[in-house]
């Protein structure tokens, strides 16, 4: 929404990607990062960071700590997270 400062156009930010619980074990890592590109959505982030694993059907996705669907658009600098159904409480 806010216009980016000039240097944000010059220094590319990246997408911070987090995997939790059984997905962390499936992917083999807790954290990844990737370069931002136009038109990126959450499922594309999965494809590029998941070591070719299929996304389990019940996977939950979040951008910047809010639940989103897999086709939600990703912005430069976002934190994208993937995790299985929750079991707290």
């Amino acid at each position: 929404m806010t216009p980016s400062p000039l240097n944000a156009k010059i220094i590319p930010m990246s997408i911070n990607v987090q995997f939790f619980a059984s997905l962390r074990e499936l992917i083999g890592k807790q954290q990844s990062s990737m370069d931002y590109s136009d038109g990126l959505d959450v499922s594309a982030v999965w494809q590029q960071t998941s070591n070719n694993a299929d996304m389990p059907d019940n996977t939950l996705c979040a951008i910047n700590m809010e639940y989103v669907k897999a086709d939600a658009p990703v912005s430069d600098g976002d934190e994208v997270a993937f995790f299985p159904p929750v079991t707290g409480g």
Binding site: Q18, F20, A21, S22, L60, A62, M65, Y67, A81, F83, P84, P85, V86, T87, G88, G89
Partner: protein, 144 residues
Amino acid sequence: MPAILLDNVFNPWDEIQRYQAEHLQSGHYGATASFVGTMRDFNIDRSVRHMTLEHYPAMTQHFLDKLCLQCAEEYDLDDCLIVHRFGDICPDEPIVLTVAWSAHRAQAFDACRYLMEELKARAPFWKKEVTDEGERWVHNELRS
């Protein structure tokens, strides 16, 4: 109306008393409903020795903070409180506390339950149990 995440054993009854003494106005609330979830030493059919509760720290805090605010407003509460463990947990230790303070009992009961149901359904925590037969992730609980 805070949400508190702790990596150590806590006493839910002491938490309620401390919070109440520090934040609630004497003589104003008439109804306090609370729920404590405690780790059992059995789940389904296996004996559970201990459990690790993984979470997504920033999102868990954000989710529970928002839940408290929204619940307090929706149920017209005087206040509410969530305390939740993470990390290694042994049988008989409290995992979660939810409390709702209100002028009236219906709102207190409804709000306390709402906090628990929303937390169970959507707060990013994942339980891994260590049983006699090895480790396993806990799957969505069909039973409440």
